[in-house]
């Protein structure tokens, strides 16, 4: 039986057909959207012509990755309350973007994070630093998504064996490259809008279905999850099942919570979305839409997670291929049979596709705009030339993502995403906030906070138990660390945020006060532009 490794009762032909229909529809839309993509502003920022609500839906499409859909629902099903904590951090984080970053960023930049940081600094070093940190964050996030794609294939399509999974990762990568090359930001945005709509509608339908089974009584749903959970069932409703074991795990949870809440407003692919709307007011509107959609979606995952716990049971989920990631698909199968499972599987794939496309366009824009056009060519480059370089870069990044995804497919998706958040919170956020709000901030401060945050984060991760030295699990015979059989860890926490974020803020301050550079004139211009929107890039009319 070819479906042996897939979810029992799943119809992989049906899953593949639904997925192909999604790809076909989105490709048609991407081709249509590409007709007007000519200038750099079209390619990177969709001509700044999306409305606030459209961009808000696209942001939620960009943000609600497979990790947050499959990962959080699964974490709640198996670990109960502790899984819920993730979604709260992911949501509250948007207030940082709304209150401090989105509008000011839209008013002062053009395409990338580097634009804002370089506004009043020495262009070359700051843009190079911004591009490096953008590429690092995007690459970790990309790896996470591609690794997730590999696991999903195993789970949903019943494709067995290394070679089969590799082929599917490559296919996902190639489709994504086509979206980005042809559609640019406009095509990518439409893919994200469609995907977000499908994901939220699908999750909403399943939520109603689950609640309906328990008479719309949350308490009875919880009771059912507790009953089905067996011995550990009662602990599902209380915090601490996953993180409450020792003092170190508690500290680790605090560190994760801080990285989650401060990371979002430093994620380059989120920041770049603010440039696709005509004004700062539209950027504000898009964040409001994103907060509402993301918040409501996380409420759905709470019900779906406990629903999977109650109707499928943690035992069956842990034994399924893909383990906790299987909770939402298994619940779909339990509720609506193979057709609903096929739909949810296709949505999960679409999710990966859309997020990967968003990351790729961000990384390629950062390279072409900050490194190629500004650092290498000193601004002496035609927009046509810059867009050509961006397209070539997208191709290279796509190839790297495919190769990386194939190599990383056994890695823990949530770990890779947490890593990306930790780097974003440490290297990017302090620099952005200083740059927008602190008059004295200068080039040296920016370099210290970006490179310092980046280096501290990566060093702490390399020497963390996530990479080496976790005890070997008696059941599986494997350690939960990335590398087996060696132990070179000295930092006790999996997540470095608790140390690396304050360190980056401190370094940014120290670098600034140790340098004599001051530029009151440029700060005056930046502050006035940031707050009033004077001279901000306008929408392109075709």
């Amino acid at each position: 039986m070819t479906l042996a490794a897939g979810v029992e009762g799943s119809n992989s032909t049906l899953n593949i057909i639904i997925f192909l229909v999604f790809v076909a529809i989105t490709l048609v839309i991407v081709f249509r959207a590409s007709r007007n993509t000519k200038t750099a502003s079209d390619y990177y920022a969709a001509g700044r012509a999306f409305t606030g609500p459209q961009n808000g839906i696209a942001i939620s499409g960009d943000y609600l990755s497979a990790a947050s859909f499959l990962g959080i629902a699964g974490a709640i099903a198996v670990n109960g309350y502790d899984g819920f904590l993730y979604s709260i951090g992911f949501l509250v984080a948007w207030l940082v973007a709304l209150l401090l970053v989105a509008e000011l960023l839209r008013n002062t930049g053009k395409f990338t994070m580097g634009d804002v940081l370089a506004f009043r600094m020495k262009q070359t070093p700051v843009r190079a630093a911004a591009a490096i940190s953008t590429l690092v964050v995007s690459f970790f996030y990309l790896l996470a998504q591609m690794a997730g794609a590999g696991g999903l294939v195993n789970l949903l399509l019943g494709i067995e064996g290394e070679a089969g999974q590799d082929v599917v990762i490559a296919v996902v990568g190639v489709i994504m490259i086509v979206y980005v090359l042809i559609g640019g930001m406009k095509g990518t945005t439409w893919v994200q809008i469609i995907k977000a709509a499908l994901l939220i509608v699908g999750a909403f339908a399943m939520t109603l279905w689950v609640l309906g089974k328990y008479g719309f009584n949350l308490s009875s749903l919880f009771q059912a999850a507790v009953d089905k959970g067996g011995k550990g069932g009662a602990a599902l409703l209380d915090p601490g099942k996953q993180y409450g074991k020792t003092g170190t795990t508690k500290l680790d949870f605090l560190s994760l919570g801080i990285a989650l809440v401060l990371g979002t407003a430093g994620l380059p692919h989120v920041l770049m979305r603010f440039y696709t709307v005509p004004t700062a007011k539209d950027a504000r509107r898009s964040v409001v839409w994103a907060i509402v959609l993301i918040g409501v979606f996380y409420l759905f995952t709470l019900v779906l997670g406990y629903g999977a716990g109650a109707l499928v049971g943690p035992d069956k989920i842990s034994k399924a291929p893909g383990t906790t990631n299987a909770a939402a698909p298994l619940l779909a199968l339990e509720l609506g049979g193979p057709v609903l499972l096929g739909f949810i599987s296709a949505v999960a794939f679409a999710t990966i596709l859309a997020v990967v496309a968003g990351l790729t366009i961000t990384a390629s824009a950062s390279f072409a705009h900050d490194v190629y056009a500004s650092v290498l060519k000193k601004g002496q480059v035609s927009t046509g030339g810059e867009v050509r370089v961006a397209r070539i870069t997208a191709l290279v990044i796509g190839a790297l993502a495919i190769a990386g995804g194939i190599l990383a497919k056994s890695q823990n998706v949530a770990f890779l995403v947490a890593l990306a958040f930790a780097v974003a919170a440490s290297a990017n956020l302090p620099t952005i906030l200083y740059s927008l709000f602190w008059k004295r901030f200068n080039t040296q401060g920016a370099l210290w906070s970006i490179y310092g945050g980046l280096v501290v984060t990566i060093v702490l991760i390399v020497f963390s138990p996530a990479v080496s030295g976790k005890p070997v699990d008696a059941k599986t015979g494997k350690s939960a660390s990335m590398i087996q059989g060696v132990d070179f860890h000295w930092f006790p926490l999996d997540n470095p945020g608790l140390v690396s974020i304050p360190a980056a803020f401190l370094l940014g301050w120290l670098g600034t006060v140790l340098s004599k550079e001051r530029n009151a004139k440029k700060y005056a211009e930046m502050e006035v532009r940031a707050l009033t929107g004077a001279g901000a890039e306008k929408a392109v009319t075709h």
């Binding site: 309350y81 819920f84 709260i88 951090g89 949501l91 509250v92 207030l95 940082v96 709304l98 209150l99 002062t108 930049g109 053009k110 634009d115 506004f119 262009q123 070359t124 949350l218 308490s219 009875s220 919880f222 507790v226 409703l237 209380d238 915090p239 601490g240 993180y243 409450g244 508690k250 949870f253 605090l254 919570g257 801080i258 809440v261 007011k281 504000r284 964040v287 409001v288 907060i291 509402v292 918040g295 996380y298 000193k378 601004g379 009151a520 004139k521 440029k522 005056a524 211009e525 502050e527 006035v528 532009r529 707050l531 009033t532 929107g533 004077a534 001279g535 901000a536 890039e537 306008k538």
Partner: protein, 116 residues
């Protein structure tokens, strides 16, 4: 040395940004923005931190059952959603009423009267 050209075009190059920055209207706009966003940021970060610390270190309290299987932890978690939505709403209302009119006026002046 690279040029200090900035990428954002549109405004007249001869705008005297420092005098705009020093003008009472702009100082007022900056005060209005900061007086809202800084305390609000501190508030929601502390509120979130309180929640994380309670979930992390006060298991007994968070596990207290209130009604049926609804415990303090769940209510606290849902309150984080509520507070996020409420702060979003408050900010939008504040920005529409207190920030946008002032910033629109200053922008119109800069873009309409170069050199002023």
């Amino acid at each position: 040395m690279s040029s200090t050209e900035h990428d954002v075009g549109g405004a007249e190059p001869q705008t005297d940004w420092e005098s705009v920055q020093g003008s009472p209207e702009f100082t007022d706009l900056r005060r209005r923005l900061r007086v809202f966003v800084f305390p609000m940021t501190a508030l929601f970060l502390l509120w979130y931190l309180l929640y994380v610390l309670l979930a992390d270190y006060a298991h007994g309290f968070m596990s207290t059952k209130l009604a049926g299987n609804i415990n303090v932890g769940l209510v606290f978690g849902l309150l984080q959603f509520v507070s996020t939505f409420v702060i979003t709403g408050l900010y939008v209302r504040y920005a529409n009423r207190k920030l946008d009119p002032v910033s629109d006026e200053i922008r119109a002046r800069i873009e309409g009267e170069p050199g002023k």
